[in-house]
Every structure is written in structure tokens, then in C-alpha cells.
């Protein structure tokens, strides 16, 4: 059952300065870019702002530019543009890959990089109509006081489910923000909060009130390196990830599969996208089946799937190791057959 959205006032500023001034003037206002997340939440009355600041009339913020040894990507660049941009495909193919499998084609043509970075966290008890949520006595994240996923706790487990942030974490991206109190630069690794409510300002992560993402600056890793993104979802299109993994490796010796540096980041398993800690020790090692098994265990300690999706958390947990194996097999030439020989089910 769909209720109409709660009425709000729509502002269409002509530039960033005006947008930020409006956000300062109307606390609690929400920015609207692609709309693929916010409009659904407005309709479900998960988001109930009095003021919406639409960014559609603002020029700029849609460029991809090379700046020295980094790529700067405007927050307005859509997932479809990111996936097909020659510079992104050539320099950061793992980012193009992740953007190219977000949702389906209609959504990718609308959804922006800025919006993907601040996608609201998701849960089976939260992303429902007002009618559904009311019948379930609401939840901790919105309108209620108890988390149906972990009723005795005071923590929100809603999962952060965007595809590009784990890739950008692994690549050590920096966000350029502006807001009513001025601009700042934040390493993405310090951006997210631990509680599923970070994105609505009740916890310590995310944007400050009225802040807006302008650009994402990504340092280009030293060659030779490769990165991939693995995504598990119910259908091959449209769906949010049940689990996602970005893995990148810089090679000391590519043909011998000798690692200089390996990084992994997870999404859709925790309330924030997570770097997997402890991969430094793989520097100098060969990426062989033993290393893959250790990496799987490391990733498994970081990902904490809860009952936030209709799919069983045990399945999502099992998929962590599978994603690590698939990613490693794609990264290291010749590793796939070796992994199959030692497969856990063999």
C-alpha cells in the first residue's frame, strides 16, 4: 500500500553556494540528486524532510579530470557515465566494473556517485512502506524503539549496501565536501559511522548537517596493479548486493604472483563499508591457495551479516569466502585451476 509522500517544499538552487546556503537556512533539509534512493524513501515516509534541495539545475560537478597522479570525479557523475568513461575504464577498471553492476540500466542512468557514497543503510524492517512498518511496530532506525534484528540491543544493524564505496575504500579515495560551515577533505576511510543510523546524523559518521559531496579524489595506484569487484545478489540485475567485495593487488612480480600490497574492502555486510584489516602481512608472499584461504578467514572476521535481508545471514557469510576466491582467481593468472583443485567441496 502506498501513501502519498508527506508534503515538502522543493528548492532548485542554481549553484553550489546557493544550495549550501539553503541547507544552512533549513536544518533537516535533504539534498536530491539522482533520486533513486531518496524518492523511494520519501514515498515510504522513511525520509520526511520539510525541505528538499534539488541539485538538478546546478552546472558542473559532472566531470572526470586527471590531476597529477589522481583522478577527480564529480559527485554528479552517474553510475552509467562512470561505467563507460574511457579514463575510468583505463585507469580504474575496478571502479567502472562496480558502477556498471549497480542496480539496473534505468537506475544507473540516474544514480550519482555522490548519492552512492551516502546511500541510506538498508534493512528488511526499514525499507518498507509506512503501512508495513506500522504493522510491525516500526524499528529503531525510524519511528520505533526496538530493533527487530537484535531486539535486546540499542544498535542499528541496517547494512550499508552501495557498490562503489568498497572500491573507493580500497583505492584510498578522499572526499571533497562543502557545507554551511565551509569545506573540508575527508579520507573515505574516516567517513562512515559504525551504527546503521550514521547516515541520518544520529551517529558520528557521514556528512555534517547541510554538507554536500563535491568531488571524489582517487590516487592512482602504482603499476603493476589489478583490482576487481565481486557482488552477490538474488538476481543478476536490479538487486542491491547481499554481499560485495573489492580486492586490489599491487604486484612485486606478476608472473610469480608475488604480492607487493593487497587490499580488501567489504560492502552490504555491515552498517558501513569495511576495509579488511591485517592484509599487510601478505606483502612479499605468493597469492596461492593457502594465501587465499587466509584472506577468506580475514574477510570473514570483518563481515558481520545480520538478519537485515530476506536471504539467510549464514548464506551471506559463506559467500564472503566465495567472493575472496573468485576475486583472487581473477587477479592472479593461473590461480583459478589451483583453487579448484583445493576447493573446500572437493
Amino acid at each position: 500500500m502506498t501513501y502519498p509522500m508527506r508534503p515538502f517544499e522543493l528548492h532548485r538552487p542554481a549553484d553550489v553556494a546557493e544550495a549550501v546556503a539553503l541547507a544552512g537556512e533549513y536544518p533537516g533539509a535533504q539534498y536530491l540528486a539522482g533520486g533513486t534512493d531518496l524518492v523511494v524513501n520519501l514515498r515510504r515516509r522513511i525520509a520526511e524532510p520539510d525541505h528538499v534541495i534539488a541539485l538538478g539545475a546546478i552546472e558542473g560537478l559532472g566531470e572526470v579530470t586527471r590531476e597529477g597522479n589522481a583522478l577527480a570525479i564529480g559527485a554528479r557523475v552517474t553510475m552509467a557515465e562512470l561505467a563507460a568513461h574511457p579514463e575510468v575504464m583505463a585507469r580504474l577498471p575496478m571502479l567502472a566494473e562496480a558502477a556498471g553492476i549497480v542496480a539496473g540500466p534505468t537506475i544507473r542512468g540516474m544514480a550519482t556517485l555522490g548519492g552512492n557514497l551516502v546511500l541510506d543503510t538498508r534493512c528488511r524492517y526499514y525499507n518498507q512502506s509506512f503501512f508495513w512498518r506500522q504493522a510491525n511496530d516500526f524499528c529503531l532506525k525510524k519511528d520505533g524503539s526496538v530493533c527487530p534484528v537484535a531486539p535486546r540491543g540499542s544498535f542499528c544493524w541496517a547494512a550499508f549496501s552501495a557498490d562503489t564505496p568498497p572500491v573507493l575504500l580500497a583505492l584510498d579515495a578522499v572526499l571533497e565536501l562543502t557545507g554551511p560551515k565551509g569545506g573540508r577533505k575527508v579520507p573515505l576511510r574516516n567517513f562512515y559511522g559504525n551504527d546503521g543510523r550514521w547516515s541520518i546524523g544520529e551517529a558520528d559518521g557521514g556528512l555534517l548537517p547541510g554538507e554536500l559531496i563535491l568531488r571524489v579524489r582517487i590516487p592512482l595506484p602504482q603499476a603493476p596493479w589489478h583490482g576487481v569487484y565481486e557482488k552477490v545478489r538474488v538476481r543478476g540485475s536490479i538487486d542491491y548486493p547481499l554481499a560485495g567485495l573489492a580486492m586490489m593487488v599491487r604486484w612485486k612480480d606478476e608472473t610469480a604472483r608475488e604480492i607487493a600490497e593487497l587490499r580488501m574492502a567489504l560492502t552490504a555486510l555491515n552498517p558501513q563499508p569495511m576495509m579488511v584489516p591485517g592484509t599487510e602481512v601478505f606483502s612479499g608472499r605468493e597469492l596461492d591457495p593457502d594465501a587465499v584461504a587466509e584472506l577468506s578467514r580475514l574477510a570473514g572476521r570483518t563481515g558481520k551479516p545480520m538478519r537485515t535481508t530476506v536471504s539467510d545471514p549464514a548464506y551471506r557469510r559463506a559467500m564472503i569466502a566465495t567472493m575472496v576466491e573468485k576475486a583472487a582467481a581473477r587477479l592472479a593468472p593461473g590461480l583459478g585451476p589451483a583453487l579448484l583443485q583445493q576447493a573446500r567441496w572437493a
Binding site: E9, R12, V40, L42, V52, A54, G109, M110
Partner: protein, 159 residues
Amino acid sequence: MKHPLSLNLNGDMAENLVEARTSLLTFIRESAGLTGTKRGCEEGECGGCAVLLDGRLVDSCLILALEAQGKTVTTVEGLGDPHHLSPVQSAFAESGASQCGFCIPGMLLATTALLDREPDPDEASIREAISGNLCRCTGYTRIVKAIQLAAKLKHDGQN
């Protein structure tokens, strides 16, 4: 509070006063009276409401109508009429691609957008291009065949 909105809908100017919370889909169906664009899931899953906004395939349920101010919107009614079907519409009719028909307007627009950027798509590109449009009759095989025929008809029409 209502605001004036005017946009180019299938070549004609469509104007009305709309609330900020009105979606482009609601404007198309209830103000302009064009009901070919379908209200399905209203959350960007089904593609039933897909239209072309300045030539780009989008879900009209996820766009606030006022955000389309001054833009060009093409719905299924803008592709052709019963006496002058577009090549894409002819191909769907000839192939028997439509079962219940609910998803077909979105499929036709997804196909139109695909053939505009890729006149000779392979089957993988076709399946990818309609992967944001759900057919609950699950009649995808004939839809894919129709899109292959549409590419051919469009190609022949140009020669």
C-alpha cells in the same frame, strides 16, 4: 502549494500546476492523461514507468515532476500511433512479444534507447539493455527476438 510546470511531452507542450511531491509518472498519467506509462512498483525495480527524459531512459516514478521542468519527455504514446507504428513497435507486434502487455511500454522505450546508441546490438547487449524492465509473464525470449527484429527493421528502413 502548487507550482507551474511545463515540459515537452511527445512533441507537445504539457502544462499544469503540480505539488513538489508529484512524480513525473503521476504527472504523465493523471495530468497529461497518458496511461501507457505504467505505475508498477514505484521503487525503481520494475521499469514499467520507464520513459525517455531528454533521450535518456529513466524510471519516471523516481523523478519529481518539477525536476523535468523544460525538458523533453517521450512516452510510449510518442513512439508512434496505431496507424503509424515505430519500427520497434512493429517488431514487438510481429513477434508476438506482448503477453499481458504491462511491461511492454517500458520495454519499447528501453529498446528505443538501446537502438539509438547501438543500432546493431548482440543478444548480450539486448538482455543487458532490458535488465531493468521486468516481465512477470516471463516472456523474455520473444521480447529479445522482437528487439533483434526491431534492429533489422530500423536498419532496413534507413536504406
